[in-house]
Symmetry: D2
Subunit: 355 residues, 4 copies
């Protein structure tokens, strides 16, 4: 495969912004080395190599890419499509909803055991989170996936992108997220050039709950019933084809998370080959460390964080943090603090698991 990038220079000599952004994206993803050749289209000079190539191919947008493979070549005017279809196709491919069958060759045939998880925790004790992510992506390949909540766990994606390895990402699109969170998910998608699989709730269950109890039953009955429908069942579906998943849980997030390990066996859900490996590479990091990392990297963040939000879930169940509060106080605030888990990260799921 031979990849040519065509960049434009405008009449007044200034370089094209979109071209610069595409280049930055490729570098961010560790894919720049796959571009074999860069040629320039000078608007002022119709005879320049890039301008002639554009004319030959009938391309009207910049930048564009020419991918030659054997006899065939193909033009891409979207860097996102280039990445997902040609440069990092595994990531994109693995991203399908449950459609992927685990390639057992990759990770060995035997199911993971508690002992192995224990060993991994010892091996990676004190290691930087990115090392754990690289380990999971290397070991499980397209059988691993990253859970993205729409908040500061974008750090996981930043790290995964920096490894240059293919990876897939999913998020639980509950139908009740903040408008700002939808916008953020889309910014993450284009910033890193990745597909994000948005897992959606089942309409029959949603319609039934809403018909019986209205749209805000959680304020009366507790959030368990709604989370079971909009988060836990979809999570089960999202993970069905995988053997490992990576989450952004941290010990400092909540009293209920104070024991979170870097690696654990997720027995509550049925993966492609029995219990999944669940990795929480940020387990030992504090909120402040996570944010220091994000600010240093300068990637996109959810604009709600500029309005006092820390932990971010569904819109009716999340509020800005008030002075002196712990971050978890702003989730399901009408319930007891030891009940404030949505069921994604507990052994006892609220929804019957497939095991």
């Amino acid at each position: 495969m031979h990849v040519t990038m065509v960049k434009k220079v405008f009449l007044d000599g200034s370089p094209c912004q979109k071209c610069a952004q595409a280049e930055a994206l490729l570098k961010r993803r560790g894919l720049w080395s796959l571009i074999d050749e860069v040629i320039v289209a000078k608007e002022a000079d119709p005879g320049s190599p890039g301008m002639r190539l554009a004319e030959e191919r009938g391309v009207e947008l910049a930048p564009f890419f020419l991918v030659r493979e054997g006899q065939r070549d193909e033009v891409y005017t979207s860097v996102l499509e280039l990445v997902q279809q040609r440069l990092a196709p595994n990531g994109a491919g693995a991203n399908g909803a449950g459609a992927v069958t685990a390639s057992s060759a990759e990770a060995g045939d035997s199911a993971l055991t508690d002992d192995e998880a224990h060993d991994l925790n010892l091996r990676f004790e004190g290691a930087p989170p990115v090392d754990m992510i690289a380990y999971v992506l290397e070991r499980y390949g397209k059988s691993a996936t990253i859970a993205f909540s729409g908040a500061e766990d974008v750090a996981l994606i930043e790290m995964a992108a920096s490894t240059g390895l293919p990876f897939s990402v999913f998020t639980l699109e509950t139908g009740r997220l903040h408008p700002e969170t939808y916008r953020f998910i889309d910014k993450v998608r284009s910033h890193y050039g990745i597909a994000i699989h948005c897992v959606f709730p089942d309409r029959v269950r949603v319609e039934e709950l809403v018909r019986k109890k209205g749209l805000f039953s959680f304020y009366q009955d507790g959030h368990g019933e709604c989370c079971a429908i909009r988060k836990v069942e979809p999570l089960g579906r999202a993970l069905a084809g995988y053997r490992a998943w990576i989450s952004g849980q941290r010990r400092d997030q909540s009293p209920t998370r104070s024991e979170v390990a870097n690696f654990e066996l997720d027995k509550a859900r049925a993966g492609a080959a029995g219990p999944l490996l669940k990795s929480n590479p940020l387990a030992a990091w504090s909120l402040a460390e996570t944010w220091r990392f994000l600010r240093e990297k300068g990637g996109p963040t959810n604009e709600l964080h500029e309005r006092g939000f820390v932990s971010i879930g569904c819109e009716p169940c999340t509020r800005a943090l008030r002075p002196g509060e712990h971050e978890r106080a702003a989730r399901w605030w009408w319930e007891e603090s030891t009940q404030r888990e949505c069921g994604l990260h507990t052994g006892k799921t609220l929804w019957p698991s497939k095991l």
Copy 2:
């Protein structure tokens, strides 16, 4: 059936607020005459009839209702449940998603024709909208349903409630509504004591679109594809069991709606018995008339209207109106104004209809 309401009076002599609200709701719905007896529970006097009844039945909430039918009697502590299960059960029952089979006895066996729709337009020319609603509810009974968009078409519900007839309401819960609209739908539900059937999109279609094009493809490709999945297909499902529907379309809303009639044949969708009767009782009203009506009635309105919103749809596709703009300018503003229909009200649906 004999219905007793128990109202409370507090120790300091003041009446219970919840009791007063329940009474107001029953009057608003024209159901107050179904309450056969009202007795008082005086907190200061444990021997008062209401207090004794509460003790006998082990009830701890006020108000409560006792419904006797033959030998059986039953306690209700929720006025909403009382209304939906006993006082206006048709409304609630009819509200199921497609579960209802049209009672053809009610509306005659023959399918509606264009001529009949024409005659209805002549018959109701200049009539107040509430008369048209009463006509549809009387003729079609539980085979009629009201489409509620979450905006000023709450006027339809106000009118339907005032008829004292049972009625059912649905809304398209697209998964991308404003948080304010979800809250408004719930306020409408409890203000009128009605179930609102929230029709939800099919997850397979949503997930597929989002995986391919992200969460904001409409800004690039136009809103047709997304509306087809989140609105048009669900609308088809919502109407499948019905023979008539009532919508809030008005001629002054848009150039594309300047021909809207009070009654028309909806040939684009499959109802329970062929084409549905579609009634647009507000067709001839202006925006200002509709709002004069709403302000006079003092019912709930979407809080977005206090932030400059007029027409309200999905969050990413609606904005506040700017000075001097026509209301439709604030929907799908990046497209040509003659294209600004979501497909709900066009003969040509974007999604293959079941006919």
Copy 3:
């Protein structure tokens, strides 16, 4: 002085809300013991004592108060006016802008010395803040005043009110506060029944700065010049007639405040008799302790705190706190963190002091 309060009971037996609020306010201020008699006006009984009194005096509002002093009596229909004019007149009187001459008899003639401030710090080490406030109010009487910033230092007012002593409060109404802060200041005023002296900047200086540099010069030049005009000079005026002031500074607010003492000599400003005593009763409290106190007391707080704001100053110079940030990061964020003082609490004022 003999004070009668007339409370109303409505036709349906329920007590009047406004009457209950007035009573709560009087208790909150420690003034309830000054009400000698409470009589009831029953709407249902025109012959009840309260109804007859209302008719005699031609009063149409409830509650109302009758204050008899010698031969004269006077009706008050506003509890705020009753408090400020009759029950706690010193507080109100002292509140004038610079109009007050210190009653030197109260505090002794000699000017305060550094040694005395030092002794006070030893004496009150570890004491609850309310004790320090009571000390200052008792010693200086109407020559002491509380500086209120519109944020969590409302705790000072809550404490002062609980002492039952008269006190006065001022705030710097810079002309650029958040709309929410103006609303909060007014809520504090009516919740505690106090006048709040809003010190306003001098128009000649404001107009001159704005003409030369526009309305946002601080983003270019630093906030010192604008603060000097809108805060520091007005502070000098606010304190001119006083001998002591109380501020809400805490050590944990900022690196620049890590040395703040409970009592210090304010040599930067000219009080009524030389250097003022400045008391910072919250110096040793943390943000969390302050908020625990406020939540326990249930008094009014600035609604900005529910949108992620912690420290609150002028609108263009304050933002919500982002995750993992220290509270001071959200003030003058474009400047070096060691420069983030507005000049109110520094020995070196930016504006020439009158000393």
Copy 4:
């Protein structure tokens, strides 16, 4: 006077944005013809004329301007300062607060009469507003000033700028404007390169009102008292040195404005030489025409207009327009609609005028 502009070209060949903006500003103000020479500083070529000039003069910012007059020359790195001090100094000069003595030579000695105003109305009937503005600016020169409210009357400034004549602008900076309005005023200032004189209320009066009645007395007593202090008195001061003023009043704004003429005698205020000429060039325009003009010109507008605000005044006294309302309904909405004038445009001022 000879003016040289130095523009920069960056290393990669792209032109400097700031330079382009400065050029656009000069063209927008009709001042581009005063630039005698433009030379380029190529970052890539230290020997280019512009780079050498920058080095000679020790200038580090681009663009910069060199103004030669006789023997002296001077460097400007701010295009705003260049405009206000050298290219359109009358505008800036006239902008002082009351400091300007009317040059009676310009406008004739005799005071304006009602007959003359009447004649002007006949002469300009149906004329475009910009003609009336040009007339006033030409006739009165620096003795005329434009009143800018922070809303759509920015159209007046757009028109004045297009005449190429010097002009001055003032606004009433009441201390209670929306944060968005302050930002907008500043955007207007830099977009047109003009000083905007922000007239500020007198602190003694503000402090007195607030001490007596709190910060929101207008909701109880009506807005007259507060407007008198924050708007009417400052307006008198703002106009004291002038002979004519231009306002954005339109007949369609309010029932109280249905008689507004293009030219009238302002007898309520004391100008530099008796009654002022008041011109309302937009009197006959509708809201929609005004906004069509603004959108066509693409200048800055108040961001509140994107949140449903039409008419904009002080923050506590303005709200977004609700569906079906007339624009004036969103000002002082708690008062009778015929009272909704702030006193700026009435013959009877609420504050004793100086006449």
